[in-house]
Symmetry: D2
Subunit: 369 residues, 4 copies
C-alpha cells in the first residue's frame, strides 16, 4: 500500500525531502481537457511560500513549480501530471547539530525508532515542506473543480492563535488575502501581529486553529460507510503536520447539545430543501446536503524553538537542546493554504467517486418524486 | 473503490441493513493460526447489544454472531472470515410513517438525494446497527492482537454526556464494566443515570464525548504521510455514526499552547526514552512513540426524538414530524465498544503494515546505536 | 490489502470454503436503482451447478443463492449486496484420507507451506467451489450492464478439450446452451462426449481451452498504463482455478506475425471507424476500440484423479496417492460460466472507472472534430 | 483509483510522455536501510536503452536516471524514491505528419476515442518509452531483493522472433548478455540477425516471444484468490506495450494434457519437497512452491512501419499512411529487460505482502510437523 498517496479517484503521491534536490507530486485521475498551466498552480504555492512576512520562517524558497507531464497544449490529457519544485535554499549546516539528537515534540525520534535511519536535514520527509507538494496538487484540483463545479468556493482562515480568537461578529472574508494571518477581520490584524512578535522574541512558538468553509458543494457527495465525506475531510486535515484535532459543524461541542437543539429543521426553498440551522456542518450520514461545509482543526505550536528543552540523543545521553535554524513561530499560519488544498482534493475526489457509482443522478424532492 | 471497506492489511467490509434478514462483516488479511471462536467475538458484541439497560433502545436483538468461513479447527486459516448476525426484532411497522419524510439531523434526506432510493426501514444502511458488524470485526482484531501484542490494552469510556463531565481526579478504570455508561467513576453513576432519565422523559436526547486509551502500543506504528496513525484513528472514529469531532492528545486545545508548554521533554528510562509529559497523545509525525495513545471524540445527540420538529417530505411538503420507535436517548453510550473495536482494528492494521515495510526492525537508542 | 477482493469501482469479495457451512460474495459499488432479484442471479449459478450431466462432478449442490442485503423493493440501493450460498452436500468423509497428504498438481501443498494450516476438506478455499461466488457476483454485473449497456453481450464457449478442437467454420453460437460442453457446434457434441467418457473411464482427466467473446463493448474502456482492459481481463481469467495461459486477439500467435499482417487497417463506417481485421482482439493500448473483444484461456486437467501418483505427506513420507471423491474429468467445462462472469465484472468495472475520470465523454472522429 | 500505479506493498507510479521534458517513476513502500545508488539502477536502464544496436530504434537517448528523493547517505530511508529520466532526443518534427491521423494497430485512435485529446508526439503516454520508468523501478526492486532474497535470480530471454524459435537443447544462459537479442544460444545469433535485417529492409516489423525464468523463489509467495502470484505475473506482463498473450508453465498447452501427464509428482529432497516435473511453472493455487517459475509472453510486431497502410484521420477521411520516424523492427527485443523488471517487482511485492499477513512463517513438512 502506498502510504504517500492521498485520494481514491483523484489521487496524488507526494515525494521529496526538505533538503533533497527537489520535491514534488504525481497527480493521477485528472479528467482530460481541463485548462491548466504552471502560472495557475503557482498562485496557490505563493500563498504558502516561506519568507513572505516576518511571521514566517526566513528560509528563502522560490517554490517555482514545473509541470513535467500530463499537460499538452495547455490542457490535461488524463495522464499523470508530475509537478516538481526544486529546493534552492537548503543551508544544511543549520541542521548538523541535531543530526543525532531528538527535538522534543518533533517527529525525528519517531522516524528513528520506526526506520532505523532518517534524513535529519531539515526534518527530511517529516518537514512541513512536504505540504508544498500538497498545495501544488490542490492547484490541479482547483482547476478541475473550476471546470466541473464553477460555483464551488473553498475558503480557509485562522480562527485562533494561542490566546487570541476570531470574533465571529467581525467576520469579513474580504480581509483574508490582505494580512499575513489569513484573518477574516482587518481590525484585529495589529493585535495578532503584536502578539506573535512577543511570542517570537520570547524564543517561543504558539498553536492555532484554522477553519475551512466549503460553499456551493452539491448534495450527494460522500460515500457511506468508510468513505464518508466528513471522514475523508477529517483524515485530510489530520494528515497535515502538527494537527491534533478536527471538527465538523458543532464538532466537540456536539457532546453538550440536546436533540432538540441539534436538529437542523427543514423547510422548502425555491430550489430544494432549506435548512434553518447548520449544526451538522453540511454533512449528514457522511453525505453532503448542499449546506455550507465547515471544517475546523487545531495546529500545535512549532516544536523547534530556541528555548532550551531537556531531551536525549541517539546514544541515549540526556542533553539540553536548543533548535537553531529558521522556524515559523506559528506553523498554523501556513497551514491555511494547505488545508484549502486538501479540502479541494477531497471534494473533487468525491465528485469523481460519485460519478462512478451514481453517474450523477440525484433524488428528487417535490411533487414529481 | 469499495466504500464499505475499512483498513489496508487487516481489512473488513461490512454489509447489511437495519431491517434486512441479516448483517455482517467480511474480514480479510488475518494472520493464520490464531485461536478464534464465536464465543470470543460474542463477548464484544454483548457490550454494545441494545436493550441491556433502560438507557439504551428497547429494541431486542440477541446479536448472535455466526462464523461462516475462515476458521478451521478453532484457528484462523488466513482466508476471509465471514461473520453474520441475523436481525430478529425488526418491527418494520414502527418505521412506516417516516417512509417518505425526512427526520431533521438524520441521514435519510442525504441518502435520498444521493441514491434516489433508500431502505427507510430503521434507517437502512445508515442505522447505527451497522456498528454491530464493526464490533464483530474488532473481536477478530482483538484475538490477533492478543496473539501478537499481548501487552496491548484498548480501553474506551465516556468522559462527557451533555452537561456532565468525567472528573479526571476520580478516574477509576475498574468501574467501567460495572455501569451502563462505561463511566470510569462509580461515584458519579447515579447522577448520570438521573440526568439521562430526565432527558428521556423530556422526549429529548443528548450528546456525549468518549475517550479511547491505547496502552502498550509499541513505537514505530504509523506510516507517513497519508497513513499516519493519528490520521487513521481520526478517520476510524469520524466514520462512526453521529461523530462530529476527533482529538489526539491535546486535541483542539493545542491551539492555545506555546511551544515550551507543548514540548514533551525526554529523559532516558531503563528500556528506552521516557517522556515527561504526553501532550502529543503518544504520536509524533504520525508514528507511535511508545507512550499511551489517547483519542477523544464527540457524538451528537440522537436525531430521532419524540419532540415534534419542522421538516419536509419527499413530495416537498412542509410538515411536523415526531419520530416514534425505540431510540437511544444517548447514542454515545453504545459508541464506546464500537470505538474500542475501531481502535483495535487500526492498531492491528498498522502492525501488519509495518511488518510489510520494515519487517519489524526498530531503531536503536543507546551506546550501540 | 484485501486479497480476496476483485475490481476497482465494481468490487466483490468472495468468502467461504468448499465444506464450510456456506460461501458467498460481498458486492460493492453497484449503481442504485437497478432491478435485481434472486431469480436473475440464480440462472447464472445454474449454468455452473455441479451434477447437471455425467461430465461434471456428481456432487449434488442446489447452489441456491440468497440476497441478504443491498436490495430494497426489487432494486439495488447502492449499498453492499451480500449473496450467500449454503453448502448442502459436503460429505467430508470423502476427504479424510488426504488430510495429511498432498495431491500432485493440487494447491494443498502450497497452502500448507504458506499458512502452516489448511482446511483440507474438499480443498477448502482453493476449491473450484469458490467460483460459485464469482458467478453470483457476475449476475449482479450482468444486471447492471443490462441497465447501462443493453447492447453488450458476453458469450463463453469451449474451443478445445484435450485433443479435440472447435472447427471455426462450424461456429454456431445458438448451439452453446444446448450441450453440456458449451460447444458452439452441435455436430461435434457426440464426439466430445465419447472422448470425455473414455478419459473418465481411464481414471484420468483432461485440459481445455475456453474463449470469451465480448460484443457491443463501447470504445474508450480501459485505463493505461496498469489498468489496461486487456491487463484486467488477463488477470481475471488467470485468477480462475487451474488456468495456465491467457490470450487477447492473436495471443501467443502474434509472435509469428509481421507488422503488415498484424496491422488492422481502418476505413470509415456509417457510425465511426470500421476495422478491416481484428488481430488486436478489440483492444489497442489497453483501451477498447469498439471491435469485438476476444479472450482465450487454457485450463489444466483436474489434478484429483483416481490413477495412483507418487507424492509425499505432511510427515515427509513418500507415498502413492489415489484421490477418491467426485471430481470433474474436465474442470474446463464449468469454467465457461465463471469466465463469462469475470468478463462481465471487468467490463462493468471499467465502465464505472471511465465514468469517474472522463464522465463518459468520447473523442469525435469526423468533419466536426 | 490511480491507474498509473503498479503493485500493492511495493508500489510504483510511472509518469511522463515520450516527448515531454522528462519521464520517471515514484517508488513507494521500499524497506529502509537498503544500499542503493544511481549507478546500480543505471545498469538496468542501459539494457533497454535505444540505439545500442542496428536492431533497435536509432533514437539516441542517454536514459540517465537521477534519484531525487528517498535515498540518504547511500541507503533507502523508507520514504518515496523519485527517479527521473530527462528526454534529450525528442525530434518532434518526425511526428508532425501523424498528428491527426491514426496508425493501424497503434493506440492513438483508442486514446483519441477515450480522452478526446492526445499527445501525438511519439505516441505520448502510450509510447514504449514509458517502460524506461518500469526498468528504473525494477532496479529498486532488484536492490531490495538482493538484500532480502540473495539467492533469487530473474532471467529474461527471447524464445521466438517471427519464424525463428529458440532451440531448447541449445539453451545457454551465459550467451544472453553477449548478443542484441537476449538470445540464450550464441550459435543462432547470426541467423536471427540476418532474419531481422531482412524484415527491416522489407519496411516491415515482426513479433516475438519472451520467457522470464525466476529461480530461487521461496515457497509461499502468492495470495489467493485475486492476488495469486501467477495472476499478478500475468497482469504485469500483459501491461507491457504490445503484449497479446501470457503463459505460466505449460501455458496454453495445458489444454491438450491429461491429468496423469500434468501431475508434477513429488518425492522428498534433502531440504523439502522435490518435484519430478514442472508443468505447473512453479505455482500451485496461485502460491509459489519453491520450483522455478516460468512465465512466457508474446509481443506483437511494431505497428509503426514504413509500408503504406489504409487508415483514417481525425476528420474521418480515408487515407494511406506511412509511419516515418525511428522504430524498432522488433519491439520484443527491448521488452526483455522490461519483463525482468516487472517480474522482480511482482516477487518483491508478494514477499512484502507475505510478511504482512504471515510474518514469514512457513508450514513444516517432515517428522516434526
Amino acid at each position: 500500500m502506498s502510504y504517500n498517496t492521498f485520494g481514491r479517484e483523484f489521487r496524488f503521491t507526494t515525494w521529496g525531502e526538505s533538503h533533497g534536490p527537489a520535491l514534488g507530486v504525481t497527480v493521477d485521475g485528472t479528467p482530460p481537457g481541463v485548462a491548466l498551466d504552471e502560472g495557475y498552480i503557482q498562485q496557490f504555492l505563493d500563498l504558502r511560500r516561506p519568507g513572505t512576512s516576518k511571521h514566517t520562517t526566513q528560509r528563502r524558497e522560490a517554490d517555482q513549480v514545473r509541470i513535467l507531464s500530463g499537460i499538452f497544449e495547455g490542457r490535461t490529457t488524463g495522464t499523470p501530471i508530475q509537478l516538481m519544485i526544486e529546493n534552492t535554499d537548503q543551508r544544511s549546516r543549520d541542521y548538523g547539530d541535531i543530526a543525532t539528537s531528538f527535538r522534543p515534540g518533533h517527529a525525528d525520534i519517531a522516524y528513528h525508532l520506526k526506520y532505523g535511519i532518517r534524513d535529519y536535514r531539515g526534518g527530511g520527509r517529516s518537514s512541513a515542506r512536504e505540504t508544498a507538494a500538497r498545495v501544488a496538487a490542490g492547484g490541479v484540483a482547483q482547476a478541475v473543480l473550476r471546470h466541473l463545479l464553477p460555483d464551488l468556493a473553498v475558503t480557509g482562515y485562522m480562527v485562533q492563535m494561542g490566546a487570541l480568537h476570531l470574533e465571529r461578529a467581525r467576520f469579513d472574508a474580504s480581509a483574508i488575502p490582505d494580512n499575513p494571518f489569513f484573518l477574516p477581520d482587518a481590525t484585529a490584524v495589529q493585535e495578532w501581529s503584536d502578539y506573535l512578535d512577543a511570542i517570537r522574541k520570547d524564543q517561543n512558538s504558539v498553536g492555532a486553529a484554522i477553519e475551512v468553509l466549503i460553499q456551493g458543494c452539491p448534495p450527494g457527495l460522500g460515500a457511506p460507510v468508510y468513505a464518508k465525506l466528513d471522514t475523508d475531510l477529517a483524515a485530510a486535515m489530520m494528515s497535515i503536520n502538527a494537527v491534533k484535532g478536527v471538527e465538523i459543524g458543532e464538532g466537540m461541542g456536539a457532546a453538550a447539545l440536546t436533540g432538540t437543539d441539534n436538529a437542523d429543521e427543514i423547510r422548502m426553498g425555491n430550489d430544494g430543501p432549506r435548512f434553518l440551522s447548520n449544526h451538522a456542518g453540511g454533512i449528514l450520514g457522511g453525505i453532503s446536503t448542499g449546506q455550507d461545509i465547515a471544517v475546523r482543526f487545531s495546529v500545535k505550536p512549532t516544536s523547534s524553538i530556541t528555548t532550551p528543552r531537556r531531551t536525549i540523543n541517539q546514544q541515549g545521553q540526556e542533553i539540553e537542546l536548543i533548535t537553531k535554524g529558521r522556524h515559523d513561530p506559528c506553523v498554523g499560519i501556513r497551514a491555511v493554504p494547505v488545508a484549502e488544498a486538501m479540502a479541494a482534493c477531497v471534494i473533487l475526489d468525491h465528485l469523481l467517486m460519485d460519478r462512478a457509482q451514481t453517474g450523477g443522478l440525484r433524488g428528487v424532492i417535490g411533487p414529481d418524486s
